[in-house]
Amino acid sequence: MIDHLFNGLLTALSFDILPILIFGVVGGITLGAMPGLTATMGVAILLPFTFGMDSTAALVMLIGVYIGGIYGGSIAAILLNTPGTPASAASVLDGYTLTKNGQAARALSISAISSFSGGFISTVLLIMFAPILANFALRFNAPEYFALALFGLTIICSISGSNLLKGLLAGTIGLLVSTVGLDPITSVPRFTFGIMDLYSGISIIPVLIGLFALSEALTQLESIVSEKKQALRNFSLKMLSRKDLKDIAPTAIKSGVLGTVIGSVPGAGADISSFVCYNEAKRASKNPEEFGKGSIKGLSAAEAGNNGVTGGALVPLLTLGVPGDAVTAVLLGALVIQGLTPGPLLFTHNPEVVYNIFSSMLVANIVMLIVGLIGIRFFCKIIEIPRILMIPIIMFLSIIGAYSINNSMFDIGVAVFFGLLGFVLIKFRVPLSPILIAMILGPMAETNLRKSLLMYENSWSFLYDRPIALFFLVLTAFSIYSAVKFSKRKKKVIV
């Protein structure tokens, strides 16, 4: 393990890879800093740029975009009172108050250091625990994978927010789309209508480009004319002091650990983590009344919490092949494009890839810290880039990206169709992430259910005969129960 990690660090710091990593981090921060553009969208847009790269370079760049994107969201939150990504919504509470007091540089430097702390701790924990979980997952067979996929599908319940039914509806749309193509066991054509391009099923990449890039671009376009240009407040360039660093250190470390644990739970993303960490820091504070009024501990907790998710979210993706949220679902697509199958076998068949990912995450966090501290003045300019120019660029990149996977015009059609579908669904307040997660987990559930039935000669006893499968089924039931309860409670709060 140490050898692989050391080699991975050498690769991440090599002249071939480091510039790509820096490009990814800066690209992620830039996209994340623009209000409305999320880390998921950033990874989706830049994904096509990785098709021509080798697997290490491609994954390193996307990891950089992911980590940079989550941090970048805090820049707009702190400077404009507008979270760049949902993950940085909690940073607005104290970050913008500091900006109003002329301490924007201090707030941005606290944000950079806390994000680094969260991301770095999270990666270290990922390195420690992921191989153990992957080793355990080597015992899985078809029934366990079916139960795991079923449990994974319950993520849909937890990412549906207050409207559970609409989330489930989105999930069924994704599941139905995933059945297009040849049946995985008997090769019977399903919903192919004689169209050759449909025989191999609908590729995930054009779907995710459509859902997360094109539909978002359309949503942004709608509000572009009505938006008022927000002027940046004047602020001093004085960064955080040594005393500030001492004050935030315990909060940042604690939130980093908490964020990792939350991130490793499928369905709990960076937005949930930042609020949970913020509330925990407030609860544990001797001066909770300062929170929301420019508390540096509040800002630090939110930032370390959301970046803490970056490592945690990769635990289920790399060890079990189950994406925990939308951005890891996009990363799963990137792995598949590179011919890699996420899951326990990745650790035995391609350990160098896994440890390259781990090492590049460590380096990406360091790059993010350096870029974040040096580039404060520069990033203030990013949020002033006119969105009227960014939107067509996102649209063109999305369509070209969809085309370049297979040099196929059909994929452009798929991206456009899902872009428009995603836009309509956003209008009806239907969440989009469940579509993608269901598209990934649907075939896994179907194939393994049918394999299990063949193994057990059409008996369903594998559901209770096998302890690990039973464990996942119990988790599934618990997950559904808690999601329904959470949804009801959230609805009551809204009413």
């Binding site: 021509g52 749309i173 008997t186 019977v188 054509p189 919903f191 572009i224 039935l453």
Partner: protein, 176 residues
């Protein structure tokens, strides 16, 4: 003396139900209704799937899509009933789309079609310029950015990633 007629309980219940139906926001039932229709069409196509003669498993190729379509219909019915009996507190009466979103949708479809006929370079330049004209952009450097962006992307994909961007149907005619 005039006897006052009181409506029966049954009539009251129906009256209340119809009042709820007429009060509800129609746009919130459009989507589930459309999806029910799509699910029914899907169920029809599922019934047409071929059945392999060698299959001896209890769960065949029809099982999963059928289960999903049926669950989808049930969810949609629940959404519609939920809309009737528990009005969504977040609902608004604003129109679903404005002229910019309709422009965006037409723009994307138009660009995808243009790229097929004209190829990447011509379609992207044309689309970018049309977009800037639609938004009445007068800043010249925006047009310059459009040209630079189009060319840089073409260069990067062709020479760095070795991905040939579409040449277009018309280019094929010229080469022939």
């Amino acid at each position: 003396m005039v006897m006052k007629r009181t409506p029966s309980t049954k009539n009251c219940a129906w009256g209340a139900f119809f009042k709820k139906v007429t009060d509800m926001n129609v746009k919130n039932i459009i989507l589930p209704s459309v999806i029910i229709v799509i699910s029914l069409v899907a169920l029809y196509f599922i019934s047409q799937f071929a059945v392999p003669s060698f299959q001896d498993a209890s769960v065949g190729s029809k099982f999963f899509p059928t289960a999903i379509a049926v669950i989808q219909i049930i969810i949609c019915v629940c959404i519609i009933l939920g809309e009737i009996f528990h009005k969504d507190p977040q609902q608004d009466s604003a129109p679903l789309f404005n002229k910019y979103s309709i422009f965006g949708a037409v723009f994307i479809i138009g660009y995808a079609t243009a790229i097929y006929f004209l190829g990447y370079l011509a379609a992207t330049l044309l689309a970018f310029f049309l977009y800037l004209v639609f938004f009445k952009t007068t800043k010249r450097y925006y047009y310059l950015i459009a040209i630079v962006f189009t060319l840089v992307i073409y260069y990067v994909f062709a020479n760095v990633f070795y991905v040939a961007l579409p040449e277009g149907l018309f280019a094929g005619l010229f080469y022939d």
